[in-house]
């Protein structure tokens, strides 16, 4: 995965860079699958690889930039990149050190100890159900806030692209076209009898 991510930055062909990005997404999803989070892995595959990376590929392919030689690569943003990298590294270490106190593990342990009679409920599909239960109960408000954040981002994107075109554009309304009756139609042949 790291080599894929490196190739995203290092390759000269932009389209290849996007393909390496897709590969690294796929590998991340495979890692999740190996860890036993099937649901997260599949959602990762559908959302990142199936939707977001396709849009990247669209843009890159339509821009018609094929090769960016090494000389032209802009290195001004490299320090910023390293700063972000360091931040995420610290975050990652923090999470790894505090993983015992995570709610997921405590809940799993409780469930598996308390409900021995319903052993089949835990045998399969447990992490999907667990994720759903957690998201809608203990993490309900953060979930809602995340939803609102995405919604606001969507509205912002629409506002940025929305322009009122002054000229009357030639639009076709399928409903109007289908439901019109003969008496309201202006005929070009006035002499013809209908």
């Amino acid at each position: 995965m790291i080599s894929c991510a490196l190739f995203v930055v290092l390759t000269m062909n932009t389209v290849y860079a996007v393909f390496f990005l897709i590969f690294s997404f796929c590998v991340a999803s495979a890692i999740l699958l190996y860890l036993g989070f099937e649901f997260l892995a599949m959602v990762f595959l559908i959302v990142y690889v199936g939707a977001i990376a396709v849009l990247f590929l669209f843009v890159v392919m339509m821009l018609n930039i094929r090769f960016i030689p090494w000389v032209k690569k802009d290195l001004r943003f490299a320090p910023l990149g390293f700063l972000v990298l360091a931040f995420f590294l610290v975050l990652f270490l923090f999470v790894v050190l505090h993983i015992e106190s995570d709610t997921y593990y405590t809940l799993t342990a409780e469930e598996s100890y308390s409900s021995a009679s319903s052993f089949w409920m835990l045998s399969a599909a447990e992490n999907t159900e667990m994720l759903g239960t957690l998201l809608f109960t203990s993490y309900g408000y953060p979930f809602l806030i995340a939803g609102y954040a995405l919604f606001i981002a969507m509205v912002g994107a629409i506002v940025l692209t929305l322009r009122h075109i002054p000229l009357p554009s030639k639009k076709q309304d399928a409903f109007v076209q289908v439901t019109r009756v003969l008496s309201t139609v202006r005929l070009f042949y006035k002499n013809r009898k209908i």
Partner: protein, 365 residues
């Protein structure tokens, strides 16, 4: 070692009949369309033209593979391989009969959705790598169409999943043993059919291949086996989505009318044949729409996808979940049913939903 051999045999016994089915689906399409247009169709090779797909395959195999000089060679070769590979991969989770599936995944529906969303890449890669305007435009159209219809398709599937309460394909079928979902969810079934047509780039939504405008869409530059792989991948996807419709709405391997009198009559036909009959009906529907309907315009296609199907499926999802919540109709999951001895019990006495429940309770007590 034995395990590996067993797995290989399993894979081969899944893929070889699949490829034969795809090959004969192409023949079926030509024959059905011919009879709808009052022609004879292919009838020269073999008895009634039954060997025509083999002849076609042989012809494509021995033709020359042309690599355009300005094409991006690596991506040009990868494109059809990816398409074909993905269309085969998704068959791993399909249950053909009770317990006869390659992997019975927990998240089978999500797996199918993910693989079908990856299918865009083969097409878009091929279109860009051919370095041709027709191919590129066709690929962009195809990708746009597939992405926009995936959204409504996902919402429609969600409204089924709200009822079944499981992402496992075999459980979706089992939970239909009382009543197929086509009855309570008929509007969504219609929307699913139309979205499936658009998702597989079939007529009346075959704009990526609009031969009047783009010569043949994203596969203009391909010849010989590259073209054959695209062709097989496309028809495989079509069969896959027919099977998926069968599983979601037509009750998979189950027979219709789950009451005691008719069950003894229908039990003569085994479950995989029921699957086959339903899939054949769906495939016939796919071909018949191609023969009957004219092609849509692209803006009309997008209008239907985003402004008609998306709000309607969203509203229907809310309606179904509200209905289930207010009448307390949530079903329990049947994960525990899928162990070896319970399969036997289910096979022995699955006649109707009530008897299934009776079997489970008798096992538990």
């Amino acid at each position: 070692m034995l395990f590996i051999i067993e797995q290989i045999i399993k894979v081969i016994s899944l893929i070889v009949p699949l490829l034969a089915a795809v090959a004969y689906f192409t023949l079926a399409e030509r024959k059905i369309m011919a009879s709808m247009q009052q022609r004879r169709g292919p009838n020269v090779v073999g008895f009634f033209g039954l060997l025509q797909p083999l002849a076609d395959g042989l012809k494509l195999l021995i033709k020359e593979t042309v690599l355009p000089s300005s094409a991006n060679t690596v991506l040009f070769i990868i494109g059809p391989i990816v398409t074909f590979q993905l269309s085969i991969m998704s068959w791993a989770v399909i249950p053909f009969d009770f317990g006869s599936t390659f992997i019975d995944m927990d998240v089978g529906v999500l797996y199918l959705l993910g693989i079908s969303s990856l299918g865009v890449y083969g097409i878009i890669t091929a279109g860009w790598a051919s370095n041709s305007k027709y191919a590129f435009l066709g690929a962009l159209r195809s990708a746009g169409q597939m992405i926009s219809y995936e959204v409504s398709l996902g919402l429609i599937i969600l409204s089924v999943l709200v009822i079944t309460n499981s992402l496992r394909l075999s459980e979706i079928v089992i939970s239909q043993s009382g009543c197929w979902f086509i009855v309570p969810l008929f509007p969504t079934f219609l929307m699913f059919l139309i979205s499936a047509l658009a998702e597989t780039n079939r007529a009346p939504f075959d704009l990526p291949e609009a031969e009047g405008e783009l010569v043949a869409g994203y596969n203009v530059e391909y010849s010989a086996m590259g073209f054959a792989l695209f062709f097989l991948g496309e028809y495989g996807n079509m069969l896959l989505i027919s099977v998926f419709t069968t599983i979601l709405f037509l009750g998979g391997w189950l027979w219709p009318f789950a009451n005691v009198l008719l069950t003894s009559f229908f039990k003569i036909i085994p479950g995989y044949l029921w699957t086959g009959i339903k899939v054949a009906a769906m495939a016939f529907f796919f071909v018949a729409t191609r023969a009957v309907l004219p092609r849509f315009r692209y803006d009309q296609l997008m209008y239907i996808g985003w402004k008609v199907f998306l709000p309607m499926s969203l509203g229907f999802l809310l309606f179904v979940s509200g209905f289930i919540f207010s009448f307390q109709l949530q079903t329990n999951n049947y994960h525990y049913l899928l162990s070896a001895e319970q399969i036997e019990i289910f096979l022995a006495q699955h006649t109707a939903y009530s008897e299934l429940l009776f079997a489970i309770t008798s096992v538990m007590s």
